[in-house]
Assembly symmetry: C2
Homo-oligomer: 397 residues x 2
């Protein structure tokens, strides 16, 4: 089997490396050898061992009947979308690690693959190396999945872990994450939660079989989290994690991306550093969790190559993925219920006049105090909290 | 699709229940409705809603061409083996939750299924509801799996969690586990580690593609663990878990079942109560963990029904499982390296004469002391520890 890799960046070069390192094992599992024939990139790579495979025109791949499988690791919606669609229409299966592409065009590309009797797979688009897409499609098939809650972004989890462990403040850990190469120069997609938002949209689409648009999901990042918030969390035996969650309610789903305070006994609370964890609740399975490297060159490439192996074994068979382009109307997040931790400079009398009975948390900053509310709707909380002076508020999980 | 269930105990009745509760969802995923036509059991079930489906002769199933899939939830090797083999030879696929059968006859039944173009699947035989067999076969296909370490027995994990939380002693928590129905009247298979031993044999067979005999695996249970051991563990910021582990070393594997002291930061340390956790290390994936209900009626049935769905979708296609009957010769556990925590009534001078520099742990029992060793071979530890008075010893993870 000859494959082409589109995009020779971190993940793309990782795919080439994994195919080389585990060549024999992969051939045994796929039933035949898997070789990289082309690498599509804008750049040249003089001196690279794969130099001779580098090409610059995607049509070279489209027009080569020897290529059965194409890997897309370019990132972004365009030109990835144009290239991938052309590959599928030319009868080539495609594996991608590109969450932006999958969130925006997943349903359409799955349909195109089906029409042409090939496959479009995207295990690496969520949770890096953690198997989660295939488990949802192939393993948890006896269940109604009622909830998925995940730590789906390694960069922000690294930052929050460092804030928790070292008492550091946001700007400091962001700089550290950028120095270490975990965060990009423009860190918006991570720290504002756009990345986990696309990932939970993908997972929810797979659970409900319809198109969940990430633009419909309420999304808060971690930019407002401070060192003081972690001191309060510690006093409550909790930590702060950026959670992406999706809960079935009736015929629809309630989705959100936001920082939450988790009790230290919660399975996701011990998912630290760049690791990801995905908690799943099925109506008969109960609770399950998948944990592992949510990013990184080789772990992510491992997931891409697992897609390649699966597609080699199903080279003339479309594997059904239940994700149609019919839109799933999500519930308004303002109707969802949450309990909150609140820091305020208002008095106890003012707080109690608005929230009734609350539980106070010992102050860690002079001139303010902390308290936790009962569960209430987001709309209700918004209305009430506008009546007091709020320094910060974080939801409780 | 008509299925037959052999064994109407906890898991078997769970399978019938899951097929009923999630009937529509399962039909959608399998591509057709799945109905239970027969239930094979020695007993009658007067008044049971499935009363009319009860039969007593397995040949009724063998001879009915309408039955495409058979579920085996009887437990034990015989007569399960005879029945399952007859079903496969009659061209029916079989899903089982029976670890004893799979550990003893897995390779053979996989081969029989292949010969007859049907499938033999056993997701529920390890880790209850946790997807682990299919992830190993279908998801982690790009990796060389270098290590699997699991908490694979819910009963003993419940007992050890209770000992850790409540300071209770072994006999007390065993009685409690029996009262709650978690432990059987004869708890040997659980507390002596025979159950997780079979499970790690199954997982190692799948990783190496050869037959790993559970009889070859060194196996220690939890019967020697006391309340005092947990006090020592706490002082070391550790807890005690019964681990089943398998590590690739050269062309072979080193396997063991034994209680270990884990640091509280270890992902498996937070796997509590009846939950199971399976930690996997792949050479490119790095660390991953699968967590969930390791036992229980509905979670285990969820895994069996996932096998049914997969087999309905592959009704005339054998899904390759890489597990031949060629025997894998395991490494002698005495050559494996471990560090130990030791309780002794010998003096520091005596300890140091034998073990050299050790780290002492503050005594929690009068007249003794605790210390930890460096890593050494099991043989070396055995020889040295015979020279001092050992109260108990537990390996460190």
């Amino acid at each position: 089997m000859k494959v082409a890799v589109m995009g020779y960046g971190t993940i793309g070069s990782g795919v080439v490396e994994v195919l080389r390192i585990n060549k024999e094992k992969i051939a045994r599992r796929a039933g035949q050898e898997v070789d990289v024939k082309y690498i599509l990139d804008l750049r040249d790579f003089p001196g690279d061992p794969m130099e001779d495979a580098i090409i610059h025109d995607y049509k070279t791949i489209v027009e080569d009947p020897e290529i059965g499988i194409v890997v897309e690791t370019m990132g972004g919606v365009e030109p990835a979308y144009t290239f991938v669609k052309a590959m599928l229409e030319a009868g080539k299966s495609v594996a991608t690690s590109n969450k932006n592409l999958v969130a925006a065009k997943g349903a359409e590309l799955i349909a195109v693959a089906r029409e042409h009797g090939v496959n479009f797979q995207f295990e690496a688009s969520v949770g890096g190396g953690i198997p989660i897409i295939r488990p949802l499609n192939k393993c948890l098939t006896a269940d109604e999945i009622e909830e998925i809650t995940g730590i789906l972004n390694g960069t922000t989890n690294y930052m929050l872990t460092k804030m928790a462990d070292e008492g550091a403040d946001f700007d400091e850990v962001l700089k550290d994450a950028q120095d270490k190469g975990y965060a990009e120069k423009d860190p918006t997609a991570d720290i504002e939660g756009h990345d986990p938002c696309r990932k939970i949209a993908i997972l929810t689409s797979l659970v409900c079989g319809k198109q969940v648009d990430f633009e419909d999901i309420h999304c808060e990042g971690i930019t407002k989290i401070t060192a003081a918030d972690f001191l309060y969390a510690k006093k409550m035996d909790r930590s702060i994690k950026l959670l992406a969650s999706s809960r079935q309610e009736g015929d629809s789903y309630s989705c959100m991306v936001a920082p939450f305070m988790l009790p230290t006994t919660h399975p996701l609370c011990n998912v630290n550093d760049v690791f990801n964890g995905i908690f799943v609740h099925g109506n008969v399975l109960g609770d399950a969790m998948f944990y592992g490297s949510g990013a990184g060159k080789l772990p992510t490439a491992s997931a891409v190559v697992a897609d390649i192996v699966d597609m080699v074994k199903h080279i003339n068979t479309n594997i059904f993925i239940d994700w149609s382009s019919e839109k799933m109307e999500l519930l308004d997040y303002k109707a969802s219920q949450n309990a909150f931790f609140v820091r305020t400079t208002s008095s106890k009398a003012e707080v109690e006049a608005v929230f009734g009975n609350v539980s106070y948390v010992e102050a860690v900053v002079e001139g303010e105090m902390g308290f936790t509310t009962e569960k209430m709707t987001e709309a209700d909380f918004e209305e009430r909290s506008a009546k007091i002076a709020v320094v910060n508020r974080i939801r409780l999980a």
